[in-house]
Symmetry: C2
Subunit: 157 residues, 2 copies
């Protein structure tokens, strides 16, 4: 869970804002976004759908493989709840880059590695994924997951 | 190929810029981004790796399933070239939303539907995917694909 924080120093900020105030604002955005990603990882690894969905905007879009886009709190709760009934995760996320595009939007690329244990038979299988997040800052100044797509980087069976 | 253009009128622009000039700027950005997506679709359907890669930034990142992120022109050429040796596509992309996040960054959600024909045996298989693109405007004012992840929305085998 600490890997996000550890890798932050290496994250390249490619946003266009370059003034001193903007640099500080970007750094603050990054810190907050990394905290959200830490919470996402923890919620995922504890199979807590409500805690996951709290990290999304109300109109957030989750784009997992093999399922059409799931949009909004209710759909997200159902989707994550369904996943957690099938599999429990032990994943470690690593931030590859954070791009603060504006005061209210940012993009994040991560990868995650670990295992998933299938509820049906208790079998543990390797997991390796890459993720592309869009973050949005809400009116309260909180960064939330607005869009999120991922896929497996493991070779196809 | 024309579907992108047809759906543009229905695209919601959720970017934070609200002045008259900014609205016009957003509309211009959308038009350019849709044109890039049209060219992407055409290049994909004609198995033209060079034409695909031209649409990316020099440090563009392509995140297809079952392959780690491919970064930069050379890697992208190899990745798309490899795909086109295995499969030829006949896909129709539909824009779901374009959000212009700032003067230089935007993101786009699409889905694509159609078929892929396997080079190995000539078998044609259904394709249905969802895509999340991050676009960046370069110094010449051209919008390019900066980051791009997708996955299949078909049920897992």
């Amino acid at each position: 869970m600490t890997k996000f924080t550890k890798t932050l120093a290496a994250v390249a900020v490619l946003g266009g804002l370059t003034s001193g105030a903007a640099v500080a604002q970007n750094a603050d955005a990054e810190t907050q976004i990394v905290a959200v990603l830490d919470r996402y990882e923890a919620a995922l690894n504890s199979s807590n759908a409500a805690a996951v969905v709290e990290l999304y905007t109300a109109d957030g879009v989750f784009m997992p493989p093999n399922v059409p886009a799931q949009i909004g709190t209710d759909a997200l709760l159902a989707a994550y709840g369904g996943f957690f009934q099938m599999i429990s995760f032990n994943l470690d996320f690593t931030v590859v880059e954070i791009i603060v595009a504006s005061e209210d939007w940012a993009f994040v690329r991560t990868h995650s590695d670990g295992t998933g244990t299938l509820a049906a038979n208790g079998v543990t299988i390797p997991q390796a994924n890459q993720e592309l997040f869009v973050f949005e800052r809400n009116d309260s100044g909180e960064w939330k997951i607005a869009r999120y797509a991922f896929n497996s980087t493991l070779a196809a069976n």
